[in-house]
Amino acid sequence: MALFQTLKTAAGVWNPLLWLIALAVAIGIGLYIRSRGRADSRQGPAREPFISGNPEPENAGAHIPATNLYWGFTEALKGWYQKLLPIHTGVLTDYVAWFLGVMALTFIIALAG
């Protein structure tokens, strides 16, 4: 059946059906282990969220805004972003200049190489 063949890449193979079967088996094992657990663990104080002993915040404050989510990432790469963001000026003539610059560079490459 042509539909179920394995994908051959340059160095390996990839068969999503086998992967899905493996995933199903893994989920099955996980569910089995979970079912063997103690039923009373999901009752009582253990159900309350535990935030290092702090009181649970109100609903409105529980959602982290998108900007804060990768604050650490952008802070760590500050140098890169300080160079990258000013290039995106939004000025039309700059767009044209970049285009012509690449064109000029390509001319040099093509006619020299």
Binding site: G90, V91, L92, T93
Partner: protein, 117 residues
């Protein structure tokens, strides 16, 4: 002398393209930038017409045709198409410039940059 004469249209094309590019790169007024673009369009159209000429050929017009081989009129057809397209794009971009002037109150490209980063 004939060689120089034959090269003259190409020189004109190059000068027009450089003028157009200069206007697009160094002018900040949107209308002037669009004028530069129109100038380049004319230059490319001129280039197409000039390229259509073959040495010692006659123009492809059938009335009172002199003897000799005719040049292919393909490029003239291309130029017509390109002119029509040029009119459409110029009209559209000029109307964009009008709308932008109404909404932003300026045609300076340094100030038309609400979209950035």
């Amino acid at each position: 002398m004939t060689r120089l004469f034959l090269a003259l249209p190409f020189v004109t094309v190059v000068i027009l393209i450089i003028l157009g590019l200069g206007a697009m790169l160094f002018k900040k007024n949107l209308i002037k930038i669009l004028l530069g673009l129109s100038l380049m369009e004319s230059a490319v159209n001129l280039l197409l017409v000039v390229i259509g000429y073959r040495q010692d050929s006659v123009a492809p017009i059938f009335t009172n045709v002199p003897s000799g081989e005719m040049a292919m009129p393909t490029v003239q057809a291309l130029t017509l198409t390109s002119i029509v397209i040029g009119v459409a794009t110029s009209a559209m971009m000029l109307s964009f410039a009008m709308v932008l002037y109404k909404r932003y109150g300026t045609v300076n490209v340094l100030e038309i940059r609400k979209l950035k980063h």
